[in-house]
Amino acid sequence: MTTLTLQATPQKSIPGDLAMWFFILAELLVFGVLFICYGITRFADPALFNAGQTHLHAGQAAWNTLFLITGSGTAVLAAHAIARLQYRQGSIFLVATFASGVLFVVNKLMEFASYLGQGYTLSTDNFWMFYLFLTFFHFLHVILGMVIIAAVWIKLQQGHYRNGQTAGVETATSYWHMVDLVWIVLFPLVYLIR
């Protein structure tokens, strides 16, 4: 289902644009370093982090996991459809991915509003500093992912992907997967692991 081997790219190569893969590696590096810093700080003061985590809305965040994974799935379906020259279907799947992003963003904003309403800020303590920065940083990535998906959708309407030239779609899908992947690590790391 989530395989990226598309019929339009018979030669053995990575999907999408190489420049985007440099970028994705750089992003993963940044998130990796951030996660390690989180882990070290948590290790130094587990009581503070455990206490902070009890205030988080894990259920709400679980819904967000579902939204992002759904978005990943529809993004793959979109790439497949466009590779098969089924542009209408591809267009619908792209809209679905974008919509899943909207759901994530709305849900996340409500969650942020709840924490800020309770007076938590970056300067509250180490837990809230890491929690707010990591999730806000990721939140911005989701928005960027939506911008990219929207750009691909517009290009699709303009007829840029004729004859299975799917590099742009694959590039966008790869980026969305990266954002999804980071969340799948981030979610248990800050919400669940005690």
């Binding site: 590096l29 370093v33 951030l34 810093c37 500093m129 890491f130 920065f133």
Partner: protein, 458 residues
């Protein structure tokens, strides 16, 4: 030189080199003041010498950037400059304003200058690197705007290449962020916070776009590698520069009253700042290795490669050395900072301007490259200046480590001045290296006047 109007770059380059000489002269004076504290006192107190040293650096680099833009943009846009007359006029305005500023630094006490120049109305003076009186700051803005108007009009009417777009974006950014130099709140923390929006977002932000564009331009010309390849790398490098460098501003927000979380974000993102510099080094060597032609200007190639290596060492490695908050806690505001500042400015900005001058000046003087003798001398000056700068950096680093140890780490911390007395050996060695640097600079200047031997052609 393909377009007549590119010739306006020439006076800019000459002025840049002239002010460079002045900068080094005052550097040597300050080096001596580190050894004999009362040298030239009270005629030229240290703070005045330092102001002249750093301001001359900024002004001559700006001359270099503007000259580079006037040379590059017409060639990239494939049309004459919008207004060569305006460019010539702005040259004289900027030169006279710059010279007047330096003379006023030297001639009258700074407080008097502040009074005369209306600092009481809009207080902007007396902050590091932004010491210029109000009229000079306004002058810089006017010159920058006219200059940007001139090259933007040229570009709008002509071919828009990635190199010229990046160059112009960097120059616009330079002008926009300079506007923060007019914001000087009474609150010292806010003052310092936005002061860095000029200083950091210049040298670790928009200036790197200018640096990248200038290097890419010269590499296109001397290697003959496909423009597409070079421009692709340019985009990737400057993307990484801004991705790491903007939040990297946080490494200046550790100890100035800003929230503690900057220690995390500043450390993490600035730890990644060497990546774009490393890519720049790889890029420069890669392009030269893949060259499709043998350009007769060997000296320019050497400067281009030198820029890649030295900016990585100075900005990348020496920056990383003290950028992590737990390290910076001890090294902040020590000679280690000075060491990094020297090699980073030389390796990145001084060298890229000289790269451009080295490539463009022979063309502006009507030949593809200088005579072999002139190039050999220029390469000597390259090695002398570069090696001297490496040693200046090493000696200042040694002085810094000793300083940090004696003054901040040891169980019985010494006072600042007692510590300074212990560093004299390194200050001597630094001054000696500085003299070598000056010799290299003299050779560099001489290399412009070496003529081809008539008989050599036979």
């Amino acid at each position: 030189m393909k377009y007549q109007s590119q010739a306006v770059a020439k006076p800019y380059f000459i002025a840049a080199i002239g002010l460079f000489i002045g900068q080094i002269l005052f550097g040597l004076i300050m080096g001596l003041q580190y050894l004999w504290g009362d040298f030239l006192f009270p005629a030229i107190p240290f703070n005045v010498a330092r102001m002249v040293h750093t301001n001359l650096l900024i002004v001559w680099l700006l001359f270099g950037f503007m000259g580079a833009a006037y040379y590059m943009i017409p060639e990239e846009a494939e049309r004459e400059l919008y207004s060569p007359k305006l460019a010539k006029l702005m040259f004289w305005v900027f030169l006279v304003a710059g010279a007047l500023t330096v003379v006023s630094y030297l001639a009258v006490p700074y407080a008097t200058l502040a009074k005369w120049s209306g600092n009481g109305l809009v207080a902007t003076m007396g902050r590091e690197f932004l010491e210029q009186p109000l009229y000079t700051k306004v002058g810089i803005v006017v010159v920058a705007l006219v200059f940007l108007f001139n090259i933007s009009m040229t570009l709008l009417a002509g071919r828009k290449t990635s190199i010229s777009l990046v160059m112009i974006l960097g120059l616009w950014g330079l002008a926009v962020f300079f506007l923060f130099s007019f914001y000087n709140p009474n609150n010292l923390v806010k003052d310092k916070y936005y002061w860095w929006w000029v200083v950091h977002l210049w040298v670790e932000g928009v200036w790197e776009l200018i640096l990248g564009a200038m290097l890419a331009f010269v590499l296109v010309k001397i290697t003959g590698v496909d423009r597409e390849v070079i421009e692709k790398w340019l985009y990737v490098i400057i993307a990484m520069t801004l991705i790491t460098g903007i939040i990297g501003t946080g490494h200046h927000y550790f100890w100035i009253g800003t929230p503690a979380y900057w220690q995390w974000w500043g450390s993490i993102f600035s730890a990644l700042e060497p990546i774009p510099f490393f890519m720049m080094t790889v890029f420069a060597f890669n392009m030269v290795n893949r060259r499709r032609r043998e350009h007769p200007n060997k000296a320019a190639t050497l400067w281009a490669l030198g820029t890649g290596v030295m900016s990585f060492l100075g900005a990348g490695v020496w920056g990383f050395l003290h950028t992590l908050a737990p390290v910076n806690y001890y090294t902040h505001g020590s000679q280690i900072t000075a060491a990094h500042g020297h090699m980073a400015f030389y390796g990145a900005y001084v060298m890229v301007v000289i790269t451009m001058i080295s490539y463009a000046m022979p063309l502006l003087r009507g030949r593809e490259a200088n005579s072999n003798r002139a190039q050999v001398l220029e390469m000597w000056s390259f090695w002398l200046m570069t090696i001297a700068m490496v040693f200046i950096t090493l000696f200042l680093t040694a002085a810094g480590i000793l300083q940090v140890w004696l003054q901040r780490i040891s169980a019985t911390p010494m006072s600042f001045m007692d510590t300074q007395d212990q560093l004299r050996l390194f200050y001597w060695l630094r001054e000696f290296s500085g003299v070598i640097f000056a010799v290299g600079l003299v050779l560099y200047v001489i290399s412009f006047f070496i003529k081809e031997r008539k008989t050599a052609n036979a």
